[in-house]
Symmetry: C2
Subunit: 279 residues, 2 copies
């Protein structure tokens, strides 16, 4: 089976490595001919090109570009698609993308392999990046069953944990566990550096340890990705932020009034609930 991948970064490149290992013939497209060369050398693709025409005989195509380029890429791809070709994407936000892309191409299946790495680009591509990681598939009413099943079967063959849900549920869930954490984590760093007493700021920087390191990690990460998340998942993120801010106001009130029993209750509840997300 011939598979296409558009966008040969960490995700697209790692998909290529996995898929070739599983016997698929992989055709890769990148805007950069140098990336195509590296992809061939590294065994990410069988054939690489800057021209979408290379994909015209593929049965399944992954669009692995940044979020903002997914729909525009599909539009440019349309002339090369056979009627039965399935197109899927790897974007971390789904509602808008799935709606737009399904209108452009009925055989479109939204997907979100939730794997990552601090490194980016083709050089960071690695085998088994998706193993044991969630891979969320987000069909809508019009999505052909066969296409969903195909994308799901390949995700399973990568040893991903495959979940199906609506694009809306996906976006709300990732707002809670991924996009809200980025915002509150970034806001922690942004607030700390506003400390006006330079001695306190300097001391804080020196004594910050694992607690600060962990809590601030995702807020000090990839800027473009953070902005994209905010931009494409704005309404879900706003609803999470609203809830979060109301709770933080409540917590501050408890602190202000010395309501230690309520603060104890909250911390007991969070201690008990966290394993439901992490185990």
């Amino acid at each position: 089976m011939k598979i296409g991948i558009i966008g040969l970064g960490l995700i697209g490149g790692s998909l290529g490595l996995d898929l070739r290992q599983r016997g698929y013939q992989v055709f890769g497209v990148s805007r950069s001919s140098q990336t195509c060369e590296i992809a061939k050398e590294r065994g990410v693709v069988d054939e690489g090109s800057v021209d979408l025409a290379i994909l015209k005989e593929t049965e399944l195509i992954y669009i692995a570009t940044p979020i903002s380029a997914i729909a525009p890429t599909l539009e440019k791809l349309l002339p090369y698609l056979a009627p039965e070709t399935i197109v899927t994407d790897v974007g971390s936000v789904k509602e808008e993308i799935v709606r737009t892309c399904s209108e452009l191409w009925p055989n479109f299946v939204g997907g979100h392999p939730m794997a990552g790495n601090i490194q980016q680009g083709i050089e960071a591509a690695q085998l088994n990046l998706f193993a044991q990681a969630p891979y969320v598939i987000t069909p809508i009413k019009t999505t052909p069953i066969a296409a969903q099943e195909k994308v799901g079967a390949i995700a399973s063959s990568l040893n991903s944990k495959v979940y199906y849900c609506t694009p809306e549920n996906h976006d709300q869930a990732v707002a809670w566990i991924s996009h809200l954490p980025v915002m509150i984590s970034a806001n922690l760093i942004a607030s700390c550096i506003q400390e006006t007493d330079s001695e306190v700021l300097e001391l804080a920087q020196k004594i910050a340890s694992s607690g600060f390191r962990d809590t601030s990690r995702v807020g000090g990460g990839n800027v473009e990705l953070g902005v994209m998340m905010a931009r494409y998942n704005r309404s879900s993120l706003l609803s999470c932020l609203k809830q979060y801010r109301a709770n933080l106001e409540q917590l501050s009130d408890y602190l202000e009034t010395g309501n230690w029993s309520e603060i104890t209750k909250i911390l007991q509840e969070t201690q008990q609930s966290r394993p439901n997300f992490t185990s």
Copy 2:
């Protein structure tokens, strides 16, 4: 030199192991005779007792009890202290403790070895727990120089990174890098579990990965410690929370109005600033 340690948990126990290895004779006091036995067996102390009288010939005493017990412990200790005995503590909040304890005993030096572990108690005590970790010493105007230097010299011998500052600056700095992170992290978990759509909540729990794990870690930790921090560092924590909430409101406004350039600026700034705290 004879050294006393009151409270043989993770911190007190680990101090005992380190100090004995460096040739000090260590006398330990615990409320539990069983803990005293374990401490002797594990080589944490030379002598252990439930009775403070065992400390009457020691030159330096560490109070390694929970925060709320530090001043009451010092009060009970007073009858056994020789005039030149130095008393220090290991509490994670300093202003109130140092003020109260310095009034009780002029030769008191506030200290905060910033090492920890998920495990607690004497069984978790380990050698070199304090190596490479910050050890903040918080003298006030009346603290004798010789006493500060003694506590600092021993902290250095544990290979800690020793810093000196006022109790107020310490408390403000730890509010930023330790206590505020606990509150915003706990508030993340508390908010997520309020999701009313059970399908979304279940999906969120399944797909949460390293980003959520790291951001929620300190908010799902030790409840008693979290409440103590809040209680004893209330005013600094409240000032940090006020700033944090104002910034989060601003960030929400930018998101609401689609001001991506301001969000980009914030994320660029946090990305650039984080290494000042973590490297």
